[in-house]
Structures are given as C-alpha cells and as structure tokens.
Symmetry: C2
Subunit: 230 residues, 2 copies
Amino acid sequence: MTGQLQAALAVSTVIFTLRPDPASDLSTLWLPLVRRTREPHLGQWALPGGDLPADEELAAAAARTLRETTGLTPKYLEQLYTFGDPGRSPGGRVVSVVYWALVETGEAALAVVDENVQWFPADRLPPLAFDHNRIVEYALWRLRTKVEYSRIAHAFLGETFTLAQLRDVHEAVLQKALDPANFRRTIESSGTVVDTGQRVAGVPHRPPRLYRYNDSVNATDLGPFGPAIG
Amino acid sequence: MTGQLQAALAVSTVIFTLRPDPASDLSTLWLPLVRRTREPHLGQWALPGGDLPADEELAAAAARTLRETTGLTPKYLEQLYTFGDPGRSPGGRVVSVVYWALVETGEAALAVVDENVQWFPADRLPPLAFDHNRIVEYALWRLRTKVEYSRIAHAFLGETFTLAQLRDVHEAVLQKALDPANFRRTIESSGTVVDTGQRVAGVPHRPPRLYRYNDSVNATDLGPFGPAIG
DNA sequence: TCAGTAAAAGTCAATCTGACTCTAACTGGT
DNA sequence: ACCAGTTAGAGTCAGATTGACTTTTACTGA
C-alpha cells in the first residue's frame, strides 16, 4: 500500500554496443531491448530497467537491472537524463532516471538473447513502450556529440586494439569515413593510446600494432562523481 | 500518510548571474542561496528548491520554486543532474532532480534579498546544506565546459549588447582574458550575433555598436525536448 | 617470386589561432 | 578649439592544425 500521491521512481538504461550491420557490412550501433511482461504496454519492446529500491544508489540500480535482464556488464555507465513528464506513463506518474551504457562487442555477444530480449540496430527500432523512442534518440545524440571520444571508443573495445579497430569505432559513431593516415596522426599526438609493442600476427597483410588505452589522460563527464565504471 | 518506502522526489536549481566582484572589479559568477527554515540543516544556506508536486513537470517545478523563493525568472533553464545517493540527506532518502539556470544581470538586481535569501560569489561559498557544495561545483564545471557558449552568453545579457559586454561574459565564464580583436573576428564569423545598426551614445570614447542574438543558429543541449525557456 | 592489400610515414596547401599593430571615433579637460 | 586619453574596430603575420593525397613498408596467399 505505497502511497501513489508521490511519483514512482524508476531507473532505465540505454545500452550500446558495436556490431556489423548485415545490410551494409559496416559497424553500427546496436542496443538490446526487453519485452514488457506486464501492463502498461504489455508485449511491447522497452528499455531495460525497473523500480528504484529504497536504498540503492542510482547508478548501481541501473547496473543491476541491466545485468538481471540482459546479463551484461557495462564498461561505461553515465547518467543521461531524468524524464518526468506527467503522463509519459499510462497509470500513475513515473519519473525515470535514465542511464546510458557501453559494452564491449565481445561481451555483448555473450548476452542473453531469447523471446524477451533482443538486439536492434539503433537507427531501425520498432515502436517502443512509453517515451522510449525519444529517449534512445537523445542517447544517440549524446553519444555522437560527446567531445571526448577516446574513453567512449575504448569502452567498445577490448584491452588492446589496432588503430584500424579504433578508427572503425569512430567511424560508426560519427557515421562518416575517416582518412586512416590523418586519423593515425591525430590519435598519436593526442596521447590517449599507448603502443604495446605487440603486433597482430597471421593477417594477410602488413601486421598492425596493438595499442592500449592510456589511463593517465582525460576525464569524460561521468557526472559529479568522477570515474564510476570503466 | 505518504509511504516513505519510496524515496522522496525534490527539485532544486543552481542559478547563475554575472556581476562585478567588489574585490577584483571584474565580472564574476554569483548565485542566490536560501536559508533552510526547517530541519535538517535548519539555518544553513542551500539551493532553492522544493518537493515535486504530483502532477507538475520537472522543469516547471524548478522554475516555480525559484520564482517563489527568489523572485527570479530565468532566461535559460536546463536539467543538470539527478542526485540520489542514499544518505545524502539525514532522515528519509531524497532524490533531487537539479536544474541550472541563467538570469540577466538586470533581472538579478531586482531579485528578493533579505534575511533568508542572499547572493554569493560562486567561488567563495559558505558550507552548504546536504551535498549542495558538490552540486554547485558540478554546475560550474558544466557551465565552463559547454561547447556552445553563444546561447549561454546571451542568457546573461539583455536584448542588445556590445561586443565588449559579450566578451566580458566569456571572460568571466572562462576565467581568462580574451584578445578583443580576435574575439571580434571569431564572433563575427560565427554568425551568432547580428549588428542592429544602433550604437551606444554618450560614452567617453568611441561608441560601440549594438548587436542582437541571431536566433536562427545553433541549438544547445536543452535536453531531449528542444528549446524550453529562453 | 610476384600480386594484392593494409599499415605506417610523409608531403602540401588551405584554414584557423594567437599575438600584435594601426587607425577611427568619441568625450572631457584645459 | 584642441589635445590627451581611451575604446572600437580593422588589418597583418607567423605558427599550429586539418584534410587530401602520395609513397614506402611489411606481410600472406597463389
């Protein structure tokens, strides 16, 4: 018998990963959605999330609900926006604190996929429950207009990566091709990555170097709390 | 008898304006604080705000509470962050959706000032109630790292303004001196302002032109809803 | 051993930026 | 009436940055 005079508090998460689009064969952004198992919007696709427990931190609740519904652990998790329009949910008012997360491509492949959890390309989504289409659009905008891509790009990749892989991430996020030589020059002079000395073996061409992310630089906007996850 | 199993929802606002610092005589950022009239933190300075009414939009609640406590109407209002750490408030848990606002210098001068409402320079604040010091710090960071200053700078100024006034705003926000000639060049080529044809008369030197903000360009991040106030 | 391909380095011109100089236009004091 | 002081606003120049492009290096597979 919780009083419904106050708005209910919920936490949702927009999760992005990078995978090849079967249509274009280029890397594009994908996100997992879960099917609603109760009213309102029963049966419709929606962002993973849930009610906020009385004594759980907001970011922790976001991480937990997304782990429970999709089995994913994000490398990057940041608060996106709080949606509180009265009337955005049929029934009682719900204020949703929405987070956005990035997961590695490898990690994403291990995620739960079944009748009720599926991945969709971010630019070809079905009609979602509530105002979730608008939320995803805003998350995409934030991802693409982030000034600081280095940490974002890193969150999509594993511990080590080639510059071609890194460029691929940037191209997918920015939605345009980048000159390999100029990209190399920019990244190298930025100091955000470090040469590991290793090379990839067995490729049918000149073997690329492996790089590692340089932790000692840059701080993205992770909110007022500094580095959270990642 | 509202159930306290759920967290309480509140809305607060960090309000900035620009005014000369009596110490340095340069323009700096100031913000109004209100004295707490009840526990917890009775008597301490805090951000204006209040509980979220059951059916009021978040931004509307921010605008209303700040009008009621300070008498101010902001030219710019944007969601900042939602703070929900359990334990950030003694007593029951409070989740605060915090907005940040900018008001014109002229408007700010008309604001209520009394025993319980006072203006402080943003970089010399007293110890505030709750986690409000940290919130202000974050708001300052967001203000200073905004890529898009044009709209922000405009929010501090009146309808028309000189380039010197505009430069003064930029200097106060960025906390460094800017070359007048280079500033002029940058602004003119950006197209964010339009020459009104008018000039300021009666100044003891060469009379500067008056400019007007060009509405037809740029959209700051005002959240997923596009232009709200201003 | 050669053809194909991608990595990685290098070149060059256009643009942008910061520091600086120079001229224009006004007022207030003598 | 005019000069001193001051700010507006235009112009110059060198160094850094960026995009487009070329060249060389290093591998595999036929």
